[in-house]
Amino acid sequence: MRDIPEVASDVAVKMAVEVAGLTLRNPVMPASGTFGYGAEFEPYLNLDGLGALVTKGLSLRPKAGNPTPRIAECSCGMLNAIGLQNIGIDAFVEEKVPFLKGVSTPVIANFFGNTLDEYIQVADKLEKIDVVTGVELNISCPNVKRGGIVFGTDPAAAAKVVSEVRRCLTKPLIVKLTPNVTDITVIARAVEEAGADIICCINTVTGMAVDIKSRRLSLANGTGGLSGPAIKPIALRMVHQVVNAVSVPVIGVGGIASAEDALEFLLLGAKAIQVGTANLVNPGTMGEIVVGMERFLAESGISDINDWIGSLHG
């Protein structure tokens, strides 16, 4: 019986990365919606040992989310239809920002809107919050009819929201893409052109579960977002595609649960990675990932993680 290892190591590997103006202690950060607002993980993790903190998706007004059941376990994955429940941007400032001020890690605020105007209003507010170092624009949530899917699957709509939001923001702007499209490179290029500093992919893959005993869909919402190890091959493919399609840096997400998983995304050229579902399974995961990456790189004779990033052999 042992405790979860701390985020620290004396292996001499330089882990810091620069991602379009964001200076990160290491390339590991949580995926939005799987880390609450950060404080929930304090007992299990040294928050100051992470590359960044990413908040639950914020909207202009508080959002109650979908009816229950909201989650279902699947083979090597889970479906969620939380429906973007969140306390809203104002309560975030009041209730969560004070805690985040005490953390030395850069804070990235994930946000979304139901309309273009809402996106802009939230961006305006986020620009003014000091503790927010960067923002992550979610144009990809597949759960809420008007909360993303229209923006994220159509290149013109995606470009529009990105350029509008861009105008309110001096902070680094991450745009998070949905995998539920025929060709993710088309969307990636559109949002790059519209002013995205960083592209983050992927959000969840739309899925469904059904219960043959009750003969009902398992989620009250019908469909939900598939996440976890099951989607890692899809995420790797899309990160590879996007890295080769755009020149802005890419953050890889999808099914990362171990240092090896994280190293795979970096090898394909992702400059940083996010951990989602694995935080729910084991709140100490990200600490273990940082330590594991350092160990692997040290053993491979690599002293700077930037030498690993994108170093895939022909």
Binding site: F41, P43, G65, N80, Q85, G228, T277, L280, P283
Partner: protein, 286 residues
Amino acid sequence: MKNLKTVVLQNGEIADGYFRMAILAPGYTRAAQPGQFVMLRIQEQIQPLLRRPFGIYRAAAMPAQCSGLPEREFVELIYKVVGKGTTLMTTLKPGDSVELLGPLGEGFTIDSNINNHLLVGGGIGIVPLYMLAQQLCKRGDKVRLLMGGRSRDDILCISEFERLGVDVNIATEDGSLGETGLVTAVLERELLNFPQAGVYACGPMPMLSAVQAICCSAHVLLQVSLEALMACGIGACLGCVVPGREHSDDTPQYLCTCRQGPVFAAEDLAWPSRSNNDCHSGQGGK
């Protein structure tokens, strides 16, 4: 609250389809409160992906042994085999590794003005009531357990409650043990004898609804321990919410079972019974 990479100490069947598992758990005797739960990771594999939530039946310590073994704290779970995870759990043997996240959630609130307690359990709902009974009995209060189940096989651990000094009433639907019928009938009767009692219930949702309706009309305080699908157990995913008192389809109000619960004052929740709103004056806050 910690994530312990620890080991199973004991695991065995205690009744048809019910198992009891002891897990090495330093710190739990002091930390665990009645009504709290743990998230158990059955094996460090990807499948099944999610941890499973289980109420804490008991936290205790094995004394140090002459053989040199130091004192060892452990936590006990009692689980019903229902699906993939619990089936896998039955295969665990002493020494097998598991991960234990906990103790989690808000447990029962003990009101020092109430000295008479009715604990109502349905089947595996017995679990969170034992530590509650321990604490209440320690205060010298009068504690009565009303235990229901489909048949005698679903009535667990009764003698352990009796050893604490708890009076026990049993009702089974098939009459194979105790009275024939539902435990809610017993509750209605006992509330006549103890009109000032505090009621604490854990069991399937239909039972909890019936208990709520009864307590509501009897104007007694009720706390319920709920189950909900959980991914994280620590308030991060918002998968485990239940409708709160103010909930309506137009203005949803959701409470987080893993963090604001699993034990709730009944009056904080939305109940199907229409009489609910009338209750709130009669029932105190948790």
